[in-house]
Structures are given as C-alpha cells and as structure tokens.
Symmetry: C2
Subunit: 361 residues, 2 copies
DNA sequence: TTGTATGCGTTATCAT
DNA sequence: ATGATAACGCATACAA
C-alpha cells in the first residue's frame, strides 16, 4: 500500500477516505496535550484510583484547557451504559405527577443518571410509543404510572431486561413491582369515614375511568364498601368527567336537579373536583357539611384554606418518586434481581376537616 | 497472517481479540436475515425513498421478527445528531414551569426529539452543572428559564453552537433570544391599575429576588410606576419570602401589626401568596376590596373561584413552551441563524375580579 | 438501487 | 501504572 506523496487528501489521515471532521474537541486531543494515551484519559474519569496523582492532574488540566468533557454517545456505545432512566406519566398538568417526577429526577441526578420524561396524555398507545423510544435510547431503568398499559409495553421492558416499576398505584397482588399507595383501600377508608358519620346516600364525581386503573380501583373501593353495608350508588349519582373545578360545579348542579332523593355525601376523585362541588354548593346555598358532606383527594395546599376546609387524603408523591428512583438504582446495583416482584407501599392519610360531618337526615 | 484452524477463538471473528458481546440484536443481524447490506437497512430508516419497495418490505419484516430498532447511541455517534433537546427550569413544583415543559415536550416529540429535563432549584450553580451535563449528552437545542445565569452557562452554549432560548421572561434589549412575557411591564400594568383606583399606599409580598431576574423585573416595574406617581413602598411593606399560602398569611399579619399607616393595596408575586393574604384577611376581619385591594399573578384555576375572586394576570405558559420548541426547531432546520437575536413576546392579561376596588380612604 | 469500507468518540482488553 | 488498539452500533461517502 504505497503512501503516495502526491495525494494531498491523505496527508493527515492514514486512509484515502476523507475524515468526517466534526470539529469538536475529543478525548484524543486531551490525551495529546497531556502527553498520555487515550486509555489513561479515560481512566482519569472512570477509574481515577488507577492513575497516579500527577498524571491525573496533567489530564485534568488539559481537559480544562481544551474545555473538554466526555461525549455521552461515545461512552454509551463503548460501555453499553447510557446513564439514562425514563418515566412515563399521564400529564404534567397534575401536581401529583409533577412532584413525582421531581422526586425521581433529584434522586437519579445525585447518581449521575439523567431522567427522560414522556407524557402519555392518558393514552396507552402513546405510552407504548414513548417506552419504545426510550428503549431505543438505551434507558437503564423505567417507571410508568399505573399498570393499565398494553401488554406489549411490559413485554418490551422484560425483553430488554430493563428494570422498571409501576408507580402511584400499589396493589399487593400485582405482577409488577409497585411503588405507591393502595387506591382501593384509600377510597374504602373515605367511604367508611362517611358511613361512620351516618351517611347512607352517596354520589361520586370522578375522573375518567377508561384506561385508568387507579381511578377504577377507587370506584371499586367505594362500591365494595357501600355493598358491604347494603348500600349502592344510584347510576345518576355516578358522574365521570375531567379533573377540573368546572366539572365539580356541573356535577353538583346535575345531582341537585336530578329527581329522587338527594345524596347526603359526595365522594370526589380529587381536590379539583371537590373544590368545584364546594364552590357550587355555596352558590346554590347548600350548607356544608350539615346538608352535604364532601371529600376530595390529594390534599392540595389550598384544601385546608377553603371555607369549609376540605376533608381529603394526603399522599407524598415526591416521596413516591424518590423511592422509585432508589429502588431502580438498587436493582442496577445488583441489590435486587432485575424483575423481582418487590415494591413499597406509601400510605394515604385521611385529613379530616370541615367539609364532612354527621348526616343530619 | 495465517488463519490457524486450531484456534477456536478465531472461528467467528477476523481478529484474535475477543468480541465484546453485548447480546443485543443489532442492525447487522437484521441485514443478514433480510439478505441485504447494513447500508440498506440503515437507509430503510433514514432515507426510505432510496430503497426499493420490496427490499424495504423485507427489511421491515426482518426487523420486526428480530424485534430490532436502531440504537440511539450508535445513531448519535455516526450521524453526530442526538435528537435530544434540553430544558432547565427552577422547579416542577410550580404549575407555570410544569406546563411550559409540557408544551415543549409535546412539540419536540412530534418531531422525534426527546426532551431532557433539569431542575436548578433556583440555584445558578446547579443550572450550570445541568447545562454541562446536557452538552455532554449532545443536546441539539436548549431552553433555560430566565437569564439570571452564570456567564459560563451561555458561553458554553455558544461555544458548542447549541441554539438556545431564554424562556418565561421577555426583554426587548436582552442579548438572548427570549420567549415569554415582559415581567416589568406586567407589574407596571398591575400598579397602574391600582393607582387608577385611587390607591396611594402599597405593600409588596413577593418571592425571593435573589438570582431571579423575573422577580427583580417585577419589583422594578412596581417601583418605577410608583415613583412616576411620586409614590414609594415603605421598606417594612416590602416582604420577600417563599411562594406559599403560608407566606402570604404571615405577610398580611406582619403588615397589619406594623406601626404607621397601613397600605390600601397589596401587590403579590403570584397567586399562592395572594391567596394567603386573602385567607388571612378573612381571619382578621379585613374587608376585601373595601378596606384592602389584593392582586396575584398566574391566574391559577382556583383564582376565579375564591370569594372575593382574585384579580390577577394570566399567562399561557404552555404556549410559551410550544413557541420555544417551535423556534428551536426552526433554527435546527436552518430557518434562522444559530444565535440570531430573535424571540417572541407573549402577553400577560390582567384579569379584573373582586379583590381589587376603589380606594376608600 | 445496492454494497463496501470507514469513522463517529469512548471504553475495555491485553500487553508492557 | 500506562500504552496500543479493537470493539461498541450505526450512518455515510463512494464504488459498483
């Protein structure tokens, strides 16, 4: 292979192909400046103990001078570790998911892992697409909210041996590792509280149940509890709609205008809806809690400031995020098998306030 | 170089080095199964038009059968495009930033770009660290909230020629591309509104101004307006603290207990603080707005449901996110120069409600 | 239209 | 402790 001198394009490279020059500073530039091999530069950042102090110093100086830091794609390719984790949530518009992301992000960042976020908008198909995109990115761990997802989603996670956790919801007999609270039990507690106060006629105003196992579990918890007491929710008192104050308002108006006996208690799917019910009650001149008891869920900061203050349940969603990240890190560290059936249950705490009281019927 | 038959380790590879086997399905596996070259498989996913229909079909079948999709690290390295964008926000706990992230995420996802999120917790040093981490990941574009960041942050972005935008805040004479609203002007508008109602004595309850150009601009807007009218805020009526209902409550108590003339209007840094002021006013028996006018900022869903309903300003933060992503995509598409001084101003709209009224002094 | 042969920036293996 | 160099998985210039 003659290295012909009359070929200017071969002057700087060993082949006759043009080198794709990206212009950026790379590890070998640092190695050259520091007068060491590329392997040594790499060691300085990955196994610093294996490098003598003065060489390490030289390399760090060179890196600083050239303003170099390792390229993540190169690292990922060579080490088969991406240092990326993913989370799929329904929406960022809900404070509970936002704070869960916040908790995970902080815990992962402390270990040098970047969290990539995906929103499914409550659509299982979007969730599946997002998970596939994250697998392509080489996520090392994943979290998904709830377990109402296509089986292909969990299949893909298993196939690629990516440790994952189902968050927000906790179910003892789930096939997945769950980190969250028991939605069913939480609403059993709410229903029992109201029944204990003497209520016998209930309405339920709740978010869409479709594709949402958490909300389904809540409704089931209410139904099971009432049934145990020989009670039931009349179909016209079971309202499903968006998670807004406006929907709560519309619910109460519909319930109050409906023919037949009015409920003495309304169980809401969350605080937004409950606030709407409370506000509409004021407009309609309904006395809370004497004429009607109302419960929410989430314990937003505003809940205790309302008049009457809202009885609701508090869940530490930031903690759910933190615990989830911690669990996944433990799996990555080999402290648990990849797809062991583990999990943490976080408790929802009933906050008794003024919006619920004894039934006056 | 004799290919000795008695060397079993060389049977499958062309060298005498052990191949690092990661066990995953790769592009060449698909090529082999489809009976085509690796280049053709790559083309099927990157330049499908350049591949004949039946070959494309074969490749897609093979990929499906092997459950293969391209590895992002490999793509990034080979194409020097990461398909990643980043955003640094102060915190996810604030709805306005959460919805901005939401808007960006949706717009980027529609173009196959993954959004990576970083939270600075209002700490410039953390923001810098996060930006560097994102540059290492090869982000193709970045958004940061506000411009109160270390110069090194913007230097790094420029050095790596990464298009970026400053969001949430908009300032005509900023050296950066800004997408947001004019915090100064917004608070001028609030102050003018109150002055127009006859108010002359003001208190201000606002978030920490340190390292926060948005809040500083708001305070400056208030001060400038009052000064233009020959007025000023007394030091004991300028309170700075956390963005919570509790802080708002403490503010009003402190203001009401302070010696000297009481203000007839309180301008708050956001709705949370304003809600606290309103709640505390009710507890103290202060008539709103007759005895005291109160303003917020953000127009949370709850603002119009309060009694009295809160006068505040509305900003479409989801739209800010969407516009930011769109602008950055345009830059990536070459529609604008990389570091052109461009931007979009989004308008904050005053929502006049019951918490402000004529001064009765 | 399709195949061949590198190179992208880093890490890991082996040798020294 | 340090150096030389082959992977890592994919995209692309160039040849055919």
């Amino acid at each position: 292979m003659p290295d012909s001198l009359d070929s200017p394009t071969t002057a700087r490279t060993q082949t006759n192909r043009a080198r794709r020059n990206t212009g950026r500073t790379v590890l070998s530039d640092v190695a050259k400046l520091a007068g060491v091999s590329t392997a040594t530069v790499s060691r300085v950042y990955n196994e610093p103990d294996k490098v003598s102090a003065n060489v390490r110093e030289r390399v760090e100086q060179a890196a600083l001078a050239l303003n170099w830091f390792p390229n993540a794609a190169g690292r990922a390719l060579a080490s088969t570790r991406s240092h990326i984790a993913g989370i799929i949530i329904p929406t960022l518009d809900d404070q509970v998911f936002a704070s869960q992301v916040s908790g995970m992000q902080a815990a992962f960042a402390a270990r040098g892992i970047t969290l990539v976020l995906g929103c499914s908008n409550y659509d299982p198909a979007q969730a599946l697409v997002q998970v596939r995109a994250m697998l392509a990115r080489g996520v090392e761990a994943m979290a998904v909210v709830g377990e109402a997802h296509p089986p292909e989603l969990f299949d893909a996670l298993r196939l690629y041996r990516v440790p994952y956790a189902v968050t927000y919801a906790y179910r003892g007999d789930s096939p997945h590792t769950c980190i969250g609270f028991d939605n069913h039990a939480a609403y059993v507690e709410i229903a029992e509280h109201l029944i204990g106060l003497g209520h016998r006629s209930f309405a339920v105003c709740i978010q869409p149940t479709r594709d949402n196992d958490r909300v389904q579990a809540r409704v089931a918890g209410i139904r099971a509890t009432l049934e145990r007491h020989g009670l039931a929710v009349r179909p016209e008192h079971m309202l499903e709609g968006e998670s807004t104050i406006g929907f709560g308002r519309r619910c109460l108006r519909a319930i109050w205008q409906a023919p037949g006996e009015r409920p003495s208690a309304i169980i809401c799917g969350n605080d937004h809806i409950a606030i709407g019910v409370l506000r509409e009650a004021e407009d309609l001149g309904i006395a809370i809690p004497d004429e009607l008891s109302v419960t929410g869920f989430d314990d937003l900061e505003i809940a205790k400031e309302l008049r009457p203050a809202l009885t609701t349940m508090r869940v530490d969603t930031y903690e759910i995020g933190r615990l989830t990240a911690q669990h996944l890190l433990d799996v990555l560290d080999g402290k648990h098998p990849r797809h062991e059936h583990a999990g943490h249950e976080v408790h929802a705490e009933l906050q008794l306030r003024q919006s619920t009281g004894p039934c006056r019927r």
